[in-house]
């Protein structure tokens, strides 16, 4: 169990959103601590992706707060959420299709590059150093995902499984504290899934980050996540250790239908 004295990296308090009177998510509370891998599960249409959109500033919550390291992020835009340290992937992969693989990763470094328009225009030392460092860092990330030899190919030419990996690599490039993965194994075969899980474990250990994972494949989540939170109709119906969740009657009811 996580140490209760520490501040959670990511915390939400009574987070909720309604679309035209319909409550998509309500009273959503979660605490994620550094180095944890937490699963967010629920049947189709339960509001999992909506939670992600709230956690990344794509939607503005109608109630409640998202806190990163205890700092509230109310009213901030998506790119400010990223700057604060929350990065994500998308359920339906969103890469920069016309750009090369390495450029996809480099684009995510943009916010941390300090040179200005004048440096870029004059190709100053500052510019060249920054670009060089970024290329090195990007290649390093690509190597973790075994994408280094594809660095110069257009991102859209990659096969599906590798596109997913590239998306994760791009998210990692934002230098985040919390990584949100939206159904990373969707559409993958068992071998690809196994490889991906290995990747996820590697990056967690290596970068010491917290990961929140959406999945609706229960068995997958049970195997890798330390804690699981289950939502249905936008409401948390259970949260706890995998084995507790597996035997929780409300979860079983939600998944099998009442």
């Amino acid at each position: 169990m996580p140490d209760q004295e520490r501040i959670p990296v990511l915390e939400t308090r009574k987070l909720g959103i309604s679309f035209g009177g319909l409550k998509a998510v309500s009273d959503f509370n979660i605490q994620i601590y550094q180095g944890e891998l937490v699963g967010l599960i629920g049947p189709n249409g339960a509001g999992k992706t909506t939670v992600f959109n709230l956690l990344t500033g794509v939607y503005e919550p109608t109630e409640g707060t998202v806190l990163l390291n205890g700092v509230p992020l109310n009213g901030k835009k998506t790119h400010q959420f990223v700057a604060a340290g929350i990065a994500r992937t998308f359920q339906n992969i969103r890469l920069f299709g016309q750009m090369s693989v390495i450029e996809n990763v480099k684009a995510a470094f943009t916010k941390d590059i300090k040179y200005n328009l004048l440096d870029a225009s004059l190709r100053t030392k500052k510019f060249r150093q920054a670009e060089q460092e970024m290329t090195d860092k990007a290649m390093e990330l690509l190597r973790i995902f075994h994408l280094e030899e594809a660095a110069d190919l257009p991102a859209s030419s990659l096969p599906y499984g590798r596109q997913r990996k590239l998306e994760i690599a791009r998210a990692l490039a934002t230098d985040m504290k919390v990584l949100l993965l939206d159904e990373p194994a969707a559409g993958m075969n068992p071998t690809e899934t196994a490889e991906l899980l290995e990747c996820i474990n590697t990056i967690r250990d290596r970068f010491g980050i917290a990961i929140l994972l959406i999945e609706h494949d229960m068995s997958l989540v049970m195997n890798v996540c330390e804690r699981i939170q289950v939502i249905d109709y936008g409401v948390t119906i259970a949260s706890g250790l995998p084995e507790e969740i597996a035997s929780n009657p409300r979860v079983i009811a939600a998944y099998l239908g009442e």
Partner: protein
């Protein structure tokens, strides 16, 4: 007071022409999400067709306005041709932006083609009298027949069109295609036919608008389409593009604004005012007065 009422009447007359044109923009936008820049030029096509067929109509013993039937046919053909030759191939493989650029190119093509045709040429042409001249008075306000006819015919067409999209099978098919093309195909709707039908109806409306316009201002020139089209387009966006009642509302709003600016401020400013309204509306309520803001699905 009578100036005020007169201004309102002029606004309604202008508005009903804009509304007719705006309907064409809105119907096409609703179904393929494309601003058909060439739509304005369909009015120009209709206008010239009317000019060239009026002698024919008179020779047949018909009233001059019967020439609109030929214009409707020609405009519908041009509209369908534009869709088949230019828009469909681009839609198949291009992005939204390339479709939009194609539409701009189509507009330029029609305008410049008209100028290159010797019988038309770059100089304006003057049309015959379309409807009986004269009017009647109620109190101190004059109602010209042309104005009354314009407003009444436009109103009838709008109601018929609305009934068509709501009550008939084809109308329902059109609404289905605009909601979701893939699902419409699964329901057995021929998407391409529906789109072509939309173009035909929208362009036919442009022909009627041409008649209404010429009844009031019997002068046709090749860039007429751009001038009228842009205001009608503003109307469509103002009301909420893709929404039929929205186009009508937008048309009247633009017509009234224009007529009031002309009679109370300055006629040279009326265009700028129309654009200013557009910019303000787009910035405050991008989906238009009757539209709903729909965010991109993540």
């Amino acid at each position: 007071m009578s100036t005020f009422i007169q201004t309102v009447i002029v606004g309604l007359r202008l508005g009903s022409v804009y509304a007719l044109i705006a309907l064409g923009y809105t119907m096409v936008y609703g179904i393929i999400r494309l601003i058909n820049f060439a739509h304005g030029d369909f009015i120009m096509v209709g206008g010239y067709t009317i000019i060239f067929t009026v002698p024919l109509a008179l020779a047949l013993g018909l009233p001059a306005w019967a020439a609109v039937l030929a214009a409707i046919a020609v405009c519908a053909l041009v509209g369908m041709g534009t869709e088949i030759i230019a828009y469909r191939p681009v839609r198949k493989k291009g992005t939204n932006m390339s479709a939009l650029i194609t539409a701009i190119a189509m507009s330029l093509f029609l305008e410049n083609l008209a100028q290159a045709i010797p019988a038309i040429g770059p100089n304006p042409k003057v049309a015959d009298q379309m409807f009986t001249a004269g009017g009647f008075r109620i109190g101190s306000v004059t109602f010209e027949y042309t104005t009354v006819i314009t407003i009444v015919i436009s109103a009838v067409i709008m109601v018929v069109l609305y009934m068509f999209t709501q009550k008939t099978r084809l109308g329902r098919a059109m609404r289905c295609v605009s909601e979701d093309k893939a699902a419409a195909t699964l329901m057995g709707i021929n998407v391409n036919h529906t789109i072509i039908l939309t173009f035909a109806i929208g362009s036919a409306l442009a022909a009627v608008a041409a008649l209404m316009y010429m009844a009031q201002y019997p002068r046709i020139y090749t860039t007429l389409g751009s001038d009228l089209g842009i205001k009608a387009f503003v109307s469509a966006v103002l009301g909420g593009i893709g929404i039929i009642p929205g186009a009508v509302l937008g048309g009247f709003v633009v017509g009234l604004f224009e007529s009031f600016t002309t009679s109370y401020i300055s006629s040279s400013l009326s265009d700028a005012v129309v654009f200013l309204i557009l910019i303000v509306v787009l910035l405050l309520k991008p989906a238009g007065i009757m539209g709903k803001n729909v965010g991109e699905k993540v």
